[in-house]
């Protein structure tokens, strides 16, 4: 439990932690070194990363895991976690994770990539890793844009979604169709668990956390590659106000990319 790090604002003007209460959520998430980060206001990625770290903690894997990061906005967390991190090049995380897990099969090796990283630059890496049955967990933070480079459309951008390239919304005639990555992966023989969550409201956050926990359970049981896609808000890339982004996600994105468990080999 860390010290209260700022002035609390409550009706009771309490600037110290109450003594007759127990802490149920701390400022800095578990296994996150420093909470401060430079991601945009209203970004969904930190919420998702918190959920992943919570799952690691829950499984007691902090000192038995390696996180392989892709390149995107979430890379901001690569020097910020209290688990071992291996930075991969854009698109290459599943192969890098393969190298790690093949030499250290006792570890929980997992990847964190954006949809641009996983679905654009390196789509085949995760598909091949899944078919090879690599025993890793792959997390994809899906906001339908390249956040990091300025909000351009990715392969997951849904019809109607605003991005820097599609200010009037993606149009299939002009910009092609969205790919449903979780569905693609769910189809591959050899995968252990596939689900899609979202972080646009507290209920989805909790549900997503459970998915990630299950994914790691599958990994611990040696069931092959597990994949959790997490829909995250990118108000910056979508050109929507931060407070409208969660609803925008629900309305414009989750219709195409529907939240739920797609495949599970868990008993």
């Amino acid at each position: 439990m860390s010290e209260p790090r700022s002035i609390p604002v409550t009706v009771l003007a309490s600037d110290v932690a109450p003594t007759d209460a127990s802490l149920v959520a701390d400022f800095t998430p578990s296994l996150v070194d420093v909470g401060e980060h430079h991601l945009c206001p209203g970004c969904g990625e930190p919420i998702a990363i918190r959920a992943v770290m919570d799952a690691i903690t829950l499984h007691g894997l902090a000192d038995k895991c390696v996180a392989v990061f892709g390149i995107g906005c979430s890379t901001a967390f690569s020097n910020n976690l209290d688990v071992e991190v291996l930075q991969a090049l854009h698109g290459r995380a599943p192969s890098v994770a393969t190298g790690v897990v093949r030499m250290r099969p006792e570890l929980a090796v997992f990847t964190i990539q954006g949809d641009g990283d996983l679905g654009n630059e390196g789509l085949q890496e995760v598909l091949h890793a899944a078919a090879r049955g690599e025993n890793i967990v792959c997390i994809m933070l899906n906001n339908g844009v390249f956040g990091e480079t300025g909000g351009h459309l990715t392969v997951t951008t849904t019809i109607g979604q605003r991005t820097k390239n599609t200010l009037d919304g993606r149009d299939e005639k002009q910009h092609g169709h969205p790919m449903r990555i979780a569905e693609l992966i769910a189809q591959i023989d050899g995968v252990g668990y596939v689900a899609r969550g979202a972080v646009n409201d507290a209920g989805n956050v909790a549900r997503t956390k459970r998915m990630i926990v299950d994914a790691f359970t599958a990994q611990q049981q040696g069931l092959g590659l597990s994949f959790v896609e997490i829909l995250t808000m990118c108000p910056t890339g979508w050109f929507v106000p931060t407070d409208e982004a969660p609803d925008y996600l629900a309305e414009t994105i989750a219709g195409t990319h529907s939240v739920g468990v797609l495949r599970s080999s868990l008993p």
Binding site: H38, C40, C73, A76, E148, T149, G150, G151, G237
Partner: protein, 192 residues
């Protein structure tokens, strides 16, 4: 005749918008401009600097100017490299709502003007326009560009999907322009 204006701040403070607004205004005043924008590839955080050259004639200066006639300091974080570029003739407008006085030169050797730009912008209901308040204040003291050109560039500089911000930005520029008198005239003759 040539005037160099350097800008510095952190990502998200509107440094680049401010610099482009000033550049567009200078063009409207029929001057030549060159503006080098330096900021991280990430959407978030990091430095944001700008090097603007406004001139009566063709510009040969390299992108990062060696010395500057004026500065707009939105944040102290990356200002360290800019202070040495300012000389005895220079003027620096500092966003005093944010900038830590301890990070400013003790004996500047140039004119350092404190403008509580963020406070003023927040009062106007548009904290993101603080950089424009600062630029307005800089122009008020220097006549680097004409006030009309500056106000007009509030709209012209915005991409279509940001057009809605034009009014607020213009107000911020105006608030800056209202903040003082010409103390450092940039040009011998005011452009027409």
């Amino acid at each position: 005749m040539q005037r160099e204006v350097v800008f510095t701040g952190i990502g998200g403070q509107g440094v680049q918008l401010a610099a482009r607004t000033l550049a567009e205004a200078a063009m409207a005043d029929r001057r030549r401009v060159q503006l080098f924008a330096s900021y991280g590839g990430m959407m978030r955080g990091g430095n944001s600097d700008s090097f603007l050259v406004i001139s009566d004639g063709p510009i040969t200066a390299p992108p990062v100017v060696g010395s500057a006639w004026a500065a707009a300091i939105l944040h102290h974080e990356h200002a360290g490299e800019l202070w040495p570029k300012l000389g005895a003739e220079s003027i620096a407008a500092v966003n005093s709502s944010v900038v830590d006085p301890a990070r400013c030169p003790v004996e500047p050797g140039f004119d350092l003007v404190e403008i509580p730009a963020l406070d003023i912008a927040t009062e106007l209901g548009s904290p993101v326009a603080a950089s424009l308040v600062l630029v307005g204040a800089l122009v008020a003291r220097t006549n680097l560009v004409s006030a009309d050109a500056l106000l007009d560039s509030a709209a012209s500089v915005l991409p279509s999907y940001r057009a809605s911000a034009a009014a607020a930005n213009r107000a911020a520029l105006q608030a800056g322009l209202d903040l003082g008198e010409v103390t450092h005239p940039a040009w011998d003759l005011v452009a027409t």
